[in-house]
């Protein structure tokens, strides 16, 4: 009886609300003061596009990507999650899911030079995994990184070859 009455008491409810409230408050404050805040929740394609442009990476159109793919001069890195990669990807692309960058990047790092021409992509223009991967690569010293902002959906829609399981 003591257990149930304490559990459902107004004091417990107040405590839960207090903990939720202080978490909301500190979370919002940390977002304001963080040097690397999370993207705003209302963000959609256009503002991500602005961020992409501000980052300064060359951005490639689907046509340019197709030409470079056929020329075989660039390495493709897929920033999406592994299940998405395994489902389908640009043939020859290497999986580097940004969530597990430290686990997957060392697998391909030995075949890369600092000036290797790289193209990174994710799913569509609204995803930011490609931008984040490009930034990680730039931080790691890779100088020739381009982004394919339209992503795999655009590649897939253009009747181009795909690979997957």
């Amino acid at each position: 009886m003591t257990f149930v009455s304490t559990l459902v008491s107004s004091r417990t409810l107040f405590g839960i609300l207090a903990l939720l409230g202080v978490s909301l408050l500190t979370g919002s404050l940390s977002q304001r003061v963080s040097p690397d805040p999370l993207p705003p929740v209302h963000r959609r394609g256009p503002s991500l596009r602005t961020e992409l442009e501000a980052a300064g990476f060359p951005m490639l159109t689907p046509g340019e990507v197709r030409t470079l793919y056929q020329a075989g001069t660039h390495l493709f890195l897929d920033a999406r999650s592994l299940p998405e990669y395994h489902q389908s990807h640009i043939p020859g692309a290497f999986p580097v899911p940004i969530a597990d960058f430290d686990a997957h990047f060392p697998e391909i790092a030995p075949i890369l030079e600092s000036d290797s021409p790289l193209i990174v992509y994710c799913g569509n223009p609204a995803c930011d995994q490609a931008l984040r991967l490009a930034q990680r690569l730039q931080d790691a010293g890779y100088e020739n990184v381009s982004i394919f902002p339209a992503g795999f959906e655009a590649w897939s829609a253009a009747d181009t070859p795909e690979a997957g399981q």
Binding site: F3, L19, A126
Partner: protein
Amino acid sequence: MIKTVLLWALRLFIGGLFLYSGFIKLMDPHTFAESTANYQMIGNRAVILTALYLPWLEIWTGLALLLFPPLRTAAWSLITLMLLVFTAAKISALARGLDISCGCGTGDDPMTLLDVLENLALLAVTITGLFIDTATPTPPAVPPAP
């Protein structure tokens, strides 16, 4: 005496674990957001909100468990709720065959059934703590007048 020692052991274990887990996520919220997105259960907006607030909720519930006696029942309740959600998410991801890491701040190894069992064990410990702590009357701050 034994009950008091057990209770403090449970508070230190679970409170410390949530403090650590929240801190790890707070140090790299982008990676935590990606890990959350990999579960493919919620939209981008909810992923960002989770990455923003969940680490702080873990930290505050951990602190409340260790340092704020009036908030302990609330903290145990919230931790129970969080563990239930985490466990359900892991079971769902495994059932859908997703090859992802759990995003718990414990490394990048792919999630396995062991992670679910670990969560269930934590849930059992937490419910035990909730029961003992809640059933133990908190001594009054001011002794009753004679």
